[in-house]
Symmetry: none
């Protein structure tokens, strides 16, 4: 079973808004075993909508449209739909009464445009929108369904969850499909591909694998189809177990988990407090950690030591070390770890010092040279990275490496 | 002149990622006077890509594709493009050498998959990707252009800015069009609209104004078309001057300037060093400041004081203040400013303490209550924000308010 999504309106085509609706709808449909075959973003014109609708129905039996239903005069979606089905727009009294009482509750007056909104294609089954004025519409012909919904995200979500998905389920009972995403850090896409080459070659036709890499994190997504949900789950369980056996050192989580979240859980499970001492990452690691709700349960804080004086005075890095080895050195990050453990009273700490770029490199230490150290009172582990010249990318990549180092340090401890 | 965008790959179709590339690309093309007619998200199959490509070229002369170019075997975009043009894939030695030296710099080995990446359609003009391994490709036939780029956002952006947009400009020269973006902070979109209502009403047909609001910063983008570049420039110069007269207190820069960059320049001009003391923003402000190249010339560092003990021990906030007023209070942020000025030896400091959410609020201090203080040895200014419940939005919005407070403090000093 396949669906096609249409987003109507120029906001996306001029780059004014990012289309977040489609990803959410696609995920919901996939969870019901309906594959989204394609997504089209179309202009708010009679011709573009008619053409897009026809192209979609040539390929799929379910078409979900969002947008183009507001109370302004440039919304022509309803008229286009009526023409497409060769029906008239009819006044829908129940919708008008709902809008009147909706506005009464808000203590506001309706405008003539709201009455216009109640003229709907005669063949449409009306889907009640309790979050706004524009109703949803469900239209069937020759076993094919077209659904039209407003583009406001919370109105669309309300209609999907309460009206559209239940109707889809009864109208198109489908073949089971499922997904699992295995999250890895520590190796790039191509080296992972080498390590799991045999696994990939042995995948049956009904199980697909996709690599989704981003800044030091590679997500491996498995998709399976089968005759029953139980079989789908079994296919996925087996493959996830195989990946776990092949990549035990790289896997940090599943689904939508974040590295900072996993690190937080490991800290909390051990009753330990973390601190960071950051030079070139400038607070980015602390920001990643504190972007997770509840992080105050395991995060003490950070010393962002940009100036060398701050490294000496707040973190106790010795002048001799800075002179002899430089601020970007293994010796310095070791002293930074020791210093921040003490200064902030933490149990575990990470320290980072490097040349984020694009300038500031030397022959000896080119841009992208980064030193990291993770440690506690007993032991310290260090690592050197050699990255490129893009400052922000270096900071973000280093941030993920830092979080992964903390995670591995905790697991080994 | 019209373009169609194609995004290739199942990540979007299964709802795993939101397509942010298209909005960014659409904005860039619109700025060059090229209208994005439609956007298609397609599956990573030979049939889907071929069909989508043909449908796009039936409607527009420029087709920009992203995605489907990684080093793993599920990437079939290149093969499809070669078949589409009836050419072979040819080994591209220069690309291979670039990948080899890229990996050499990183001190890592390439895999056979990287060699595979260098087989490219014989008719393609290769666009050098300095941000990753997959090159961009520019293919022309019968006055129509197809461009293929990797889907990783920073690689795509690099290729667009450095290769694709310049080539588009020379290949499809259009009617002179120009843009200016005036950057404001400190007021919301609707209050700005009231202040410049007369200016907007008096705009001629060939000058358009767009509001682009984001987390406390509102960008005002002027677009002008005319018969000559000189005329475009004059139209824009006049309107920018009018906005400067209407919004002198809000404008902090132009174009792509960032608040953190402007703050950095103001600090550097005065020979002053900044420090931050952050509780609920958790290092985000320090990260914003240090994301700017050269920030070590005016940034000392930060104390991220998540735990109250860190506020007391590192920033000298008194226990009495914390007990009497709480960590989220005007008194606490005042003491944090004084403390961090001294601890980190800075000339100017900002302090932030609040409840970022989604939990942790009380009847007295609901989620979204944030206190900020900016100051030097002589004077301290404070401000309270009352925001919503979205943690990350609260952190980012507060970050922008903090930077704008520093900017105004410096200008008044």
């Amino acid at each position: 079973m396949e669906a096609i999504l249409l987003t109507i309106g120029d906001e996306i085509l001029i780059g004014q808004i990012v289309d977040t609706n489609s990803a959410w709808m696609a995920e919901q449909l996939n969870l019901q075993g309906i594959r989204v075959r394609e997504i089209y973003s179309l202009s708010d014109t009679h011709a573009a909508i008619t053409e897009g609708l026809q192209a979609a129905l040539d390929k799929a039996d379910l078409v979900l449209m969002t947008g183009g239903l507001g109370p302004t005069k440039d919304d022509i979606t309803k008229k286009t739909l009526a023409d497409f089905y060769g029906v008239e727009l009819e006044f829908h009294e129940a919708t008008y009464q709902r809008i009147l009482s909706f506005f009464e509750r808000l203590g506001r007056e309706t405008t003539p445009a709201h009455r216009e909104q109640c003229y709907l294609p005669a063949n449409a089954q009306i889907l009640t929108n309790r979050m706004g004025t524009a109703p949803g519409m469900w239209m069937e012909r020759d076993g094919q369904v077209v659904v039209s919904m407003p583009g406001v995200p919370y109105e669309m979500k309300y209609l999907m969850e309460n009206e559209v998905l239940p109707l889809v389920k009864t109208t198109f009972p489908g073949r089971p499909i499922g997904h699992r995403t295995v999250l890895t850090a520590g190796e790039g896409e191509s080296r992972i591909a080498v390590r799991i080459a045999d696994f990939e070659a042995a995948l049956p036709e009904r199980v697909k694998l996709a690599y989704l890499p981003s800044l030091g994190v590679v997500r491996l997504r498995l998709t399976a189809t089968a005759d029953s949900t139980a079989e789908v789950e079994q296919l996925l369980d087996e493959r996830v177990a195989q990946l776990e056996a092949l990549l035990p050192d790289l896997i940090f989580g599943y689904g939508r988990a974040k590295l900072a979240e996993v690190v937080g859980r490991e800290l909390q499970n051990r009753g330990k407090y973390l601190a960071t001492a950051e030079s070139c990452t400038g607070g980015y690691v602390a920001h990643q950690i504190t972007a997770i709700p509840g992080s105050s349960a395991y995060f003490r804080g950070s010393v962002v030591a940009y100036a060398n004086e701050v490294k000496m005075e707040q973190l106790g890095v010795s002048e001799g070390t800075l002179v002899q080895h430089g601020a970007v050195s293994e010796a310095t990050v070791r002293e930074m770890v020791r210093g921040v453990l003490q200064t902030l009273g933490a149990d575990v700490a990470i320290a980072i010092s490097g040349i984020a770029g694009p300038g500031g490199g030397t022959a000896d230490k080119p841009v992208g040279t980064i030193w990291l150290a993770v440690g506690d009172e007993q032991r310290v582990q260090t690592r050197q990275l050699n990255l490129g010249k893009d400052r922000l990318k270096n900071i973000q990549y280093t941030g993920n490496q830092a979080l992964n180092m903390i995670r591995k340090f905790l697991l080994e401890g």
